[in-house]
Amino acid sequence: MRQTFRSLSCALLFLLSFGAASSLGAQDAQPTPSISTSELDIDLIRQATVFVIQASRFEESLNITCFGSGTLVSRDGLVLTNAHHVVSGASCPGDVIIIALSVDPNAPPIPRYRAEIVQSNLGLDLALLRINREYDGRLIPTDSLALPFVTVADSSSVQLDDTITLVGFPGIGNDSVRDQSGTVVTFISEPGAGNQAWMKASVNIPASMTGGGAYNREGELVGIPTTAPVNPDLPGASCVTLQDTNRDGFINDSDICVPVGGLISTIRPSQFATPLLRAAQLGIRIDTPNDGSEQMNAASGSPTFSRLFFSPSVNEAGMPAQVIRSLPPGSNSLYLFFDYANMSPETVYEIRVTTDGVPNATFSLTPVRWSGGSRGLWYVGTSGQPIPNGAYEFTIVANGIPAETARLNVGEGIDTNPQFSDIIFGISDSEGNVSGNGYILPVGNTASAVYIYRQMQPEVPWAQLWYYEGVEIARTEQPWTDGTSGAKTITIQDAEGLLPGQYRLELYIDGRLGATADFTLAGAPQGALPQVFTTARFVRADTPTSALTAPPSNNFPTGEESIFFAFDWQNLSPGTPWTVRWLVDDLLFSEITAPWNRSPSGNGYVIGISNPSGLPDGTYSVEISLGALRLSRTEARVGIGQLPIDPFAQSDGVRLRGRILDVQTSQGIEGVSFILINELFSVADFLGRYDQSMVTALAITDREGRFEIDRPLSFETPYSVLIVADGYLPIQADGFTLDPEDLPIDLTIYLSRG
């Protein structure tokens, strides 16, 4: 049999060759026209872009409630998209998520699957879906999917003026996937997100492309175009009615109105999606105690904004360096600060900027979900970007309704008025030296602030106002008696001890706010540093309750399904924002910031992580922070202490696809097996065993004879190929390689009957 097989196919062997524009066949070798030489594999990107529909059940049918775009980021069906159109809420009340694919890149998407939410962050407006069911609701077996996907890149490598391509679906399901290229025109900063909370593109794309992808020149996903429509029930919203959702025979106001947004130019950098993706790929679930943090974070009224001011820079704690009313010409950084209240992750906010009365798209922030807490201090700004001269007007818009406006002139010359700046906090020693970490101080009787003063004049009236949890607790107003410039230390003290919590200092010069900063008192003094979280440890236990008494452990066996992390705390005021970060092999996979909602001191705060299939081997770390200050880090090893390697994690490589035709009819042959044998074996080896372990990939042709290898193939690797179908002479070949210059490879192969 084997010999016969070889003899029949040997005449065809030499015809099998791989490379750019190659084709296989017993007859005509025809170059295929669909080969691209660009690094940006737009064809793959289009295939990996999906249309996401959220729907709600009504009687026996589904009503569309929201829609947007998404991107496949793993071969087993992880979809990265926005949270606002998939997570059930007031704007999008549906509970079924449909995924439609671009089967034909030039045609509208076709609904194929259902998906579930595996990770989401409402504030960041990111969600990771996992395709888990067929369109008809049947479960899809784990690992049976092999979908085209793109690589998620590190967005911090993106620079101003870099070319990016935005991809998504421009319409409500009637249009094919669209790509539009532009450049990065600015980065927008927000608290907790560094200087790249958002990227702004030079092009505007339709709102339905929200949740799609922004790609660099290498075709890697660097961002997610994002805009959030306002809840249709609110006055500032816009929406469209698509269906007779109540089945009354009419399409009118009583039917579900699907929210739509305006044009998008704002992109959420992919670095914010990486932890979600990592957690989903590792299958890790984090079980935090239900202690009411969500309720504390919930808004109880309409959003309000106050105390708007500008600063030319922000320090590492997210505090303004100083308060300004104008900027000199040639400035390249500017931040708008404001206090906010009654905000929630469902609040849609927007910054509209005009320059000399003309809308300024570069510095505006299109409507996006709120990523902060319910109340506090916030900023939006940009740095490293030249700011043209002019009269700027910044308007904060919440849920489509303009709220507050602040104005600033740029290009007015250097400010020669007296100035305060750069407030930092610490604990004073007996000699008046201030030490500490700047913004998180231990609870005690005193707290000191050091600030810079410049261009001060004698007898200029100045004032210091201290606040605790928003309430003024101390004030002094007096004429200036120090020098023209230098550093000054001021102190607040209470003989009975300052309470733990959030404090604010405001410094005024002649009735004008000159500088301000917030700080937190928490923990017991350990020198000038606070000791807030103690006895942090990993434990092995069956339940959170038993974890409280379990002995600490830093080593866990391979396959452990759950481990717990516990700690004690002291002097931490309820409402203080704290952050817990989980890392594996120093790779972040979860970061949660929430207001503290336990008593100020106590024992046994327990957080668990679990995976029903067993936690992956690795070195797990937990970091606890207040603000930007990390106060605790604890490590434990699971198994060998190192993550396993996923051979399919990257989409780099050559994608191989093609068509297999009948040489007589030129019609596609359905059901032909295209077997790609790995580099360790020849076709002859394979024919002796027919063992799947020798196979790199197996593709079966569809009704038109089309096939596609379901994973990227390595460059320069000598594969072997066997093509078999009953009734046709087989084709086989050894030792062909794939060239990185040829993306994708599209083959045409002819089979002869025999």
């Binding site: 999917l145 027919y690 063992d691 042709t701 569809d702």
Partner: protein, 201 residues
């Protein structure tokens, strides 16, 4: 005016040698056909050995069928050369307790498959079978629609007919499944019969 032309019968009587030559050619052709048919049958029925020390299963599977092992089964072989649904034989093992009955296993299989297989339906369950070493077995026949998971290709769903042969032996259940296109199920079935006959547990 029409004319009738009569052609007389011509008798071509060769000599004895020629006649024997004809007989020899006919005999040679007949033998060749028989040999070719036998060769074809032996080629089509050619098998490769498989053995698994851990489970103690020894089997022979057809040449040209791709063999693979997995988490959910001991091994599976697929006729990758077949056009359309790739006829498959799958062998899996499930632990059982003293109280587990064959019907319990069938119910568990059905519940699981109903979640993942489109239009899954059990057609019949037959008891009283005997397989290798006279082990009693039960057979469950069922159908489902095979939908390709590859969403980017245009593949029409295929109605698949299948049956499981289940035997409980030494604290474990051995499940041998045969799956084929419903339109050719009976034609393909002998391959499974041969497989069962050549399998030892």
């Amino acid at each position: 005016m029409a004319a009738i032309v009569e052609i007389g019968q011509q008798q071509d009587q060769g000599n004895l040698r020629q006649r024997w030559s004809h007989y020899f050619v006919l005999a040679y052709a007949a033998v060749s056909i028989i040999v070719a048919v036998n060769l074809r049958i032996s080629v089509l029925n050619e098998t490769l050995p498989y053995s698994d020390v851990e489970t103690g299963i020894r089997a022979r599977y057809p040449v040209g069928w791709l063999i693979e092992t997995g988490e959910d089964y001991v091994f599976q072989v697929r006729n990758v050369g077949r056009i359309g649904y790739k006829t498959s034989i799958q062998v899996s093992i499930r632990p059982v307790s003293l109280n587990t009955t064959t019907r319990n296993l069938l119910d568990a299989l059905s519940l699981s498959r109903a979640q993942t297989l489109t239009a899954y339906r059990v057609l019949a369950i037959e008891d009283g079978l005997r397989i290798a070493n006279d082990i009693p077995a039960t057979r469950m026949r069922y159908v489902f629609v095979d939908v390709s998971p590859d969403a980017t290709l245009q593949r029409i769903p295929i109605v698949v007919e299948a049956f499981d042969v289940i035997a409980i032996q030494e604290g474990q259940a051995i499940i041998m499944s045969f799956l084929a296109d419903a339109t050719t199920f009976e034609q393909e079935r002998p391959a499974f019969e041969r497989f069962i006959n050549e399998t030892d547990f």
